[in-house]
């Protein structure tokens, strides 16, 4: 599904600041991978580089989604190809209704893939059902995108977008940050409902607790722009108990 090889990236404005330094990662269809790592290890940058945010320069390596070169595409093309990033800090957009935003996005992707656009009625029917599962009320759908939403509401809104867009490859960037226990359960249930054999996930997190709800197949430890260790779910528990220090020391040894 997603194949990243020897990826190097630096800040566009300051080539001295190198963030990704040879990252490699392969996620097969249906798999859930988690990336854990200390602050500043480049986890969020990885999500931005994959989704096409301005400000980063890829200097080496490749990233492909089902064989297609992601790095050669505009952000909207990556989305239409099936990539989805659930933002750590979902963006507020005053003046654009949440519903309008979602319908525009869904139909833009369908159009890009040569599929027929959803009518207003069809769209409404689908979104109502999905919003209900995430306990998103009609008012939240009508309000401007993320404006005045609580932290938990913003994260649920991200998962609603994911559910509506039905991507193949979902990247969740610290989706657990700012969530209480109940909200985390709701968000995780939303994610788990989307798990299937044709869809893969990359879950970026600091903490093991999210991985209690969204059970990963593979766990990677990231440090200084590279994956330094890969293992099963037990690796996340090791981090939880011992912190990163031992793993970092081991990698540097």
């Amino acid at each position: 599904m997603l194949k990243i090889e020897n990826l190097h990236a630096e800040l566009e404005d300051d080539s001295e600041v190198k963030i990704l330094k040879g990252l490699s990662l392969t996620i097969n269809p249906g798999e859930v991978h988690a990336i854990m790592g200390p602050n500043g290890s480049g986890k969020s940058t990885l999500s931005y580089v994959l989704s096409g945010r301005d400000g980063y320069e890829v200097t080496e390596g490749s990233a492909t989604l089902e064989g297609a070169d992601l790095l050669d595409m505009d952000p909207e093309e990556r989305a239409a190809a099936g990539l989805f990033l659930a933002f750590q800090y979902p963006v507020e957009i005053p003046g654009v209704g949440n519903m309008t935003f979602l319908r525009t996005a869904v139909n833009a992707q369908r159009k890009a893939r040569g599929e027929e656009e959803l009518s207003a009625g069809e769209f409404l029917k689908i979104i109502r059902a999905k919003a209900k599962d995430l306990q998103i009320d009609a008012d939240m759908l009508k309000r401007p995108v993320n404006v005045g939403f609580s932290g938990g509401e913003k994260k649920r809104n991200e998962i609603l977008q994911m559910a509506m867009l039905e991507p193949k490859m979902c990247i969740l960037d610290e989706t657990d940050s700012g969530l209480d226990v109940d909200a985390m359960k709701l968000v995780s249930d939303g994610v788990n409902a989307l798990r299937d054999a044709g869809r893969s996930f990359l879950v970026i997190t600091h903490y093991q607790r999210l991985l209690d709800h969204i059970k990963p197949d593979v766990v990677h430890i990231m440090s200084e722009g590279r994956i330094i260790k890969t293992g099963g779910p037990e690796l996340a528990l090791e981090v939880e108990h011992n912190g990163y220090a031992d793993l970092l020391a081991e990698a540097n040894a």
């Binding site: 909207e76 654009v96 935003f101 867009l165």
Partner: protein, 430 residues
């Protein structure tokens, strides 16, 4: 800097050059016109050196040679407000066209043409005509409005006594490439009444309009104006409104294209608990200069006012906002708000803003802000990351930027019509 006396003399000389014999009329209007001509001659013509003409050069508005402005072919596009049931009064090059207009009849309203009313020796309009314009000469002189009072022979007098079932719609069309037009409308909304006044279309190659409106106790005036989208036309428009206790004004202006637009508003909240909302959305690409000069005076306690002006500019287009909230010492518990913002779509566009507050009461809430900037790159990235193509995402963000001004229109269907026009314009100017 030029001495004041010398500047004044220069203005008066220019004004004298433009003086002609006054139009014929009955006693009431002749008195008003004489007084207006005296004001014009005394104040003199506006010059760029005047404080409130610093950002907008008035020269072309008063030049003697006639102006050529191509007529815009809008093809099969229906005019603004076309889908709405309303009483239509059509002016072609600033002259009333009876054949193209509806009958001057609407329940709850007395409608009369200025050209007819001025034949009488007495008329209710005498209390308003030229009176509000004269009052509007302080604190800032607006000589073009006096010139209009003196010479305008076309316009509508509207006296609203009830709540008419449909809007009164003034439709402006052009047929000559070089016409000058002057319109002067008078509106009196009697206590408790409510009316919607629509204006749409380009008036003439060059135009000067004045609206004087009195809103009685507890009465409401909705005013929605769309100034056409002809490119080379020049327009100076004035609206002067006096509100009594508990009265409400909602005035919105859409300015699309136009080489020069100067929209002046002066509003007096003279009675307690009045409410005045003034808003404008302008979009310009290239040779475009749109100036909103807005004064709101709080003269009584407990009144609320909003000024919301949004401009989208590119390719050298210029936006100007000069806005002032004046709060008299009697106007305690005033709630005043003013925002002017420009979205600059490239580095050639320019926004000049002069926001002012002048407050003499101590228990008031007044806020103002002015910003100019480009499309927010984080918002744009978020939309694109969801699959919305760059151009479409930018359009969504531009419309979102303009939404706060459009939201000031009470009727959401009329607002929707204008929003659609803006969207179509943005599609054409991608």
């Amino acid at each position: 800097m030029m001495p004041k006396a010398k500047l004044k003399a220069q203005k008066q000389t220019r004004a004298a050059e433009l003086v002609q014999p006054l139009p014929e009329g009955g006693a009431w209007v002749t008195r008003a016109r004489d007084a207006a001509l005296a004001r014009w001659s005394d104040m003199g013509a506006p010059l760029k050196r005047d404080e409130y003409w610093k950002y907008t050069d008035p020269r072309a508005l008063i030049a003697e040679e006639s102006l050529q402005a191509d007529l815009l072919d809008t093809g099969s596009e229906a005019p603004v407000f076309d889908a709405f049931d309303r009483v239509k009064l059509v002016f072609v090059d600033g002259v009333f066209d009876a054949a193209a207009s509806d009958a001057l009849a609407l329940d709850g309203v007395e409608l009369e043409l200025l050209a007819d009313a001025t034949k009488a020796d007495l008329h209710w309009a005498r209390e308003v005509f030229g009176t509000l314009e004269a009052r509007a000469q302080s604190p800032v002189e607006r000589p073009l409005a006096s010139f209009n009072t003196a010479y305008a022979t076309q316009g509508v007098l509207i006296r609203v006594t009830g709540t008419p079932a449909k809007p009164i719609s003034l439709i402006y069309r052009r047929s000559a490439e070089d016409a000058d037009a002057m319109l002067h409308h008078v509106i009196r909304v009697e206590a408790g009444a409510e009316v919607t006044l629509l204006e749409n279309g380009p008036l003439a190659a060059r135009s000067n309009t004045v609206i004087e409106a009195e809103i009685g106790e507890g009465a409401t005036l909705h005013h929605i104006r769309s100034q056409g989208r002809d490119h080379a036309r020049l327009s100076a428009a004035h609206i002067f409104v006096r509100l009594s206790a508990g009265a409400q004004l909602k005035s919105f202006t859409l300015t699309v294209n136009g080489a020069l637009t100067r929209n002046e508003a002066q509003v007096w909240l003279d009675g307690a608990d009045g409410s005045a909302h003034l808003a404008g959305a302008s979009v310009g690409d290239g040779a475009f200069h749109a100036d909103d000069t807005v004064f709101v005076a709080h003269n009584a306690p407990g009144c609320e006012s909003r000024q919301v002006y949004k401009k989208v500019l590119r390719h050298g287009a210029v936006g100007v906002f000069q806005g002032k909230i004046l709060v008299d010492r009697l106007a305690q518990k005033t709630d005043g708000y003013q925002i002017s913002q420009a979205l600059l779509l490239d580095e050639d566009a320019q926004f000049l803003a002069k926001p002012e507050l002048e407050i003499y009461a101590d228990d008031v809430k007044c806020s103002h802000g002015s910003t100019s900037g480009e499309i927010d790159s984080t918002q744009l990235y978020y939309l694109r990351a969801r699959g919305i193509p760059d151009a479409e995402a930018k359009m969504l963000l531009v419309l979102a930027f303009l939404a706060e001004a459009l939201d000031e229109i009470a009727d959401t269907e009329l607002a929707g019509d204008l929003r659609d026009r803006l969207e179509a314009w943005l599609q054409r100017h991608k």
